[in-house]
């Protein structure tokens, strides 16, 4: 590593207005060309550290920031935004926020023109960046029509235009399917080839472990470097098929709740069918996983099961009450406090007398009844929604990508919670992590519009991943 360091963080303390300290004395040194992975629980301060490094904590969030963040030896608070923006590139959780022009190519070229001022230099930088990441095929596509993985590649390309010293990735694997994860890892190798310095904040860290130079854990507001001993645990085979069974659910094959027969569906009248001849039976007690890459129609199928979308052809018969938990879990909540949330849902479903059951769920999850549901972490939001579904005696619970924002530990806990639920559960997911769990009564794969039964495949064990996480972070017990 030459010309060390690109980034130096010294005794950094950060807190939001009226809040407690999130970061409590963070120290970090990142050298030129180095790639650093920072892991941590949801709410541990990963995004806050990313904001502090990029100078956004003070400007946008009006945080109280103490300590120093030096980028190429200069304090970020002393740099003007124009200069800072060209030195550090932030690739945030939602890459779609970083595009303005509808066409990807126009957007990147406009940015190049803004950075360089003249058309020739802008064109050169544009071409160079496109060639580095191989996204030329995306330039004539609308940014809102490309996948999450493609959007991140396009955004990295945009960032490369200004030749920044440092790339900061905030949860880059969030909402990516398995192919998107592979693409990101390849992109990361491209940055390595270009000798770029990068910091990644990610809780779904296993796919990245072999591609970084250092691993840190953010715990109680401080950074702890992972020991070699902790990382050597990763030598355990990462993909395996789990044996045994933790099924606590009983399937009643006599009680058919939803039947889907030869269903065809398309959004565009003239377009191709998204779903082609889909057949499925959901019995009471079933736990079904539908695996498929993004854009294969998983959400559409869930909405058909829910009765929200009508198929163009085929038949869906349903004799069940259904609850839908969307990928963007914040869309599930509507009230100012968790208590009101529970009261409203029980009232609306004619179960006012059983509201205490819902309140008990909140207490079991150790949540404050008077706090806002939007103040919960992603994991807490999912767990509360599943808990309420159980208390409400919902027949069928549909979950769209419930694992995407969860740590490995939280994924295991959610699987356990689902296995204890009386409801029939249907989970749509785009990554295989949870497929290996011995929980599902039926496994399906949705590909090319067809829904086919799938064999249980070898996947990374969530138990191993959780154990590794605990080893790095230093948490005792399961």
């Amino acid at each position: 590593m030459k010309d060390c360091p690109v980034l130096e963080v010294v005794d950094l303390w950060v807190r939001y207005p009226y809040g407690d300290w999130v970061l409590r004395g963070v120290d970090l040194r990142v050298c030129r060309g180095e790639r650093v992975l920072i892991i941590g629980e949801t709410g541990s301060g990963k995004t806050t550290l990313a904001r502090a490094i990029t100078g956004l904590a003070k400007t946008i969030y009006e945080c109280d920031v103490r300590g120093r963040v030096l980028l190429n030896g200069v304090d970020v608070s002393e740099k003007g935004h124009e200069i800072l923006a060209q030195s550090v590139a932030l690739i945030g959780q939602n890459p779609y926020l970083y595009f303005v022009e509808p066409l990807v190519g126009d957007d990147i070229y406009d940015y190049a023109l803004k950075v360089y001022g003249d058309e020739q230099s802008a064109r050169n930088a544009f071409d160079k960046a496109l060639d580095s990441t191989g996204v030329r095929g995306l330039t004539q596509r609308y940014f809102f029509e490309i996948s999450g993985g493609e959007a991140r590649r396009a955004l990295v390309t945009k960032a490369l235009v200004s030749n920044p010293s440092l790339f900061v990735f905030d949860e880059p694997l969030m909402w990516l399917d398995d192919r998107g994860v592979e693409d990101f890892v390849k992109l990361f190798e491209v940055l390595k080839g270009l000798e770029r310095t990068a910091i990644i904040f990610e809780h779904r860290f296993v796919p990245l472990l072999r591609h970084v130079d250092k691993v840190y854990a953010l715990k109680r507001g401080k950074l702890i470097e992972a020991t070699d001993r902790a990382l050597s645990t990763f030598e355990i085979p990462s993909r395996q098929r789990l044996h045994g069974s933790c099924l606590e659910k009983k399937v009643n094959s006599e009680d058919l709740l939803i039947e889907v027969r030869d269903v065809y569906f398309k959004y565009d009248i003239k377009g191709d069918y998204l779903l082609k001849g889909v057949n499925m039976q959901l019995h009471r007690g079933d736990a079904v996983m539908i695996y498929g890459l993004n854009g294969q129609g998983k959400t559409t199928l869930l909405k058909i099961l829910a009765g929200h979308l009508k198929p163009n052809k085929g038949r869906v018969s349903r004799k069940a009450s259904v609850l839908y938990i969307p990928q963007n879990i914040a869309l599930f909540y509507t009230e100012s406090t968790i208590e009101k949330e529970v009261l409203e849902i029980f009232k609306a479903r004619g179960m006012r007398a059983k509201v205490e059951l819902g309140l008990n769920i909140v207490r079991e999850l150790d949540l404050d009844l008077l706090s806002s549901p939007f103040a919960m972490s992603y994991g807490q939001m999912v767990k509360l929604a599943v808990g309420l579904a159980t208390a409400l005696d919902v027949d069928v619970l549909l979950l769209d990508e419930p694992f995407s924002g969860l740590t490995y530990e939280d994924r295991l806990k959610l699987l356990k919670q689902l296995s204890q639920s009386k409801a029939t559960v249907v989970v749509a997911t785009s990554n295989l992590d949870a497929v290996g769990a011995p929980y599902w009564t039926k496994l399906y794969k949705l590909e090319g519009g067809r829904l086919v039964e799938m064999e249980a495949v070898g996947t990374m064990s969530l138990i191993d991943a959780s154990r590794l996480y605990r080893e790095i972070v230093g948490v005792e017990g399961a």
Partner: protein, 233 residues
């Protein structure tokens, strides 16, 4: 429906702007200049047909109609309420008057969407900058860039809240959507600080060879609308 399409770039900015804005101006004019409902309806149908023609040049015609479904649904519901009020003897306009109103609403939304389908965001920025509306140009860029995501969130929230409250409290979707808008605006502020606000504008063109065709169609529309007054309707 609000995304720019390059399919009509053979026409100048001025011609495209005139085509889209004239339809909206004509919609407003017919409200005040028509001497009978029949004439007004015929005029509205002419304008609507012209809009559909333009929309079908930039998108598939059936796709345009699919996009209009929501507006049509609201229009039908509104019209039914008016008809019902009339039957029950409540204060309500003449049912016949509802027809041009409903048609105008649909045509107005289609005309509005054409302003964004025919004119690119860069062209809007140039135009607004020329008028000294730089901040408004930036706000417009921000809003339009997030329109597709917002519509997706709307669909997700509708399914979720409908099932959660068994269809009883549909208005509650406003809360999570408002929150998403707040989070999005903060995310956009982050993105603009890092990558800068959009400043690139487009060269506004005043004439191109193909313009004559568009002006001819516009002239036929305007003359047709004017001549209806002298027809025995």
């Amino acid at each position: 429906m609000f995304t720019y399409s390059k399919r009509l770039e053979d026409y100048s900015t001025l011609a495209r702007f005139l085509a889209a804005s004239t339809t909206i101006a004509l919609l407003l004019a017919t409200r005040f200049l028509s001497r009978s409902i029949t004439i007004e309806v015929v005029r509205l149908i002419l304008i609507f047909s012209f809009e559909l023609y333009l929309a079908s040049r930039v998108r598939e015609a059936r796709g345009v109609l699919a996009g209009l479904k929501l507006i049509l649904a609201f229009t039908v519901i509104g019209s039914l309420v008016f008809f019902l009020s009339h039957l029950l003897g409540w204060l309500a306009p003449n049912p016949i008057e509802v027809i041009p109103g409903a048609l105008r609403l649909v045509a107005f939304f289609l005309g509005l969407s054409l302003l964004f389908q025919l004119i690119s965001l860069r062209e809007w920025r140039s135009l607004m900058n020329m008028l000294g509306l730089k901040k408004q140009a930036l706000a417009l860029s921000m809003v339009m860039s997030q329109m597709p995501t917002t519509l997706y969130n709307l669909s997700e929230a509708t399914t979720t809240i409908k099932l959660k409250y068994k269809g009883k409290r549909p208005y509650k979707i406003v809360v999570p959507l408002a929150l998403m808008s707040f989070l999005t605006s903060r995310g956009l502020a982050e993105s603009y600080l890092i990558y800068g606000a959009p400043t690139v504008t487009a060269r506004l063109t005043t004439h191109k060879k193909m313009d004559a065709y568009l002006y001819l169609l516009l002239a036929i529309l305007v003359i047709g609308i004017a001549l209806i007054d002298v027809m025995p309707l």
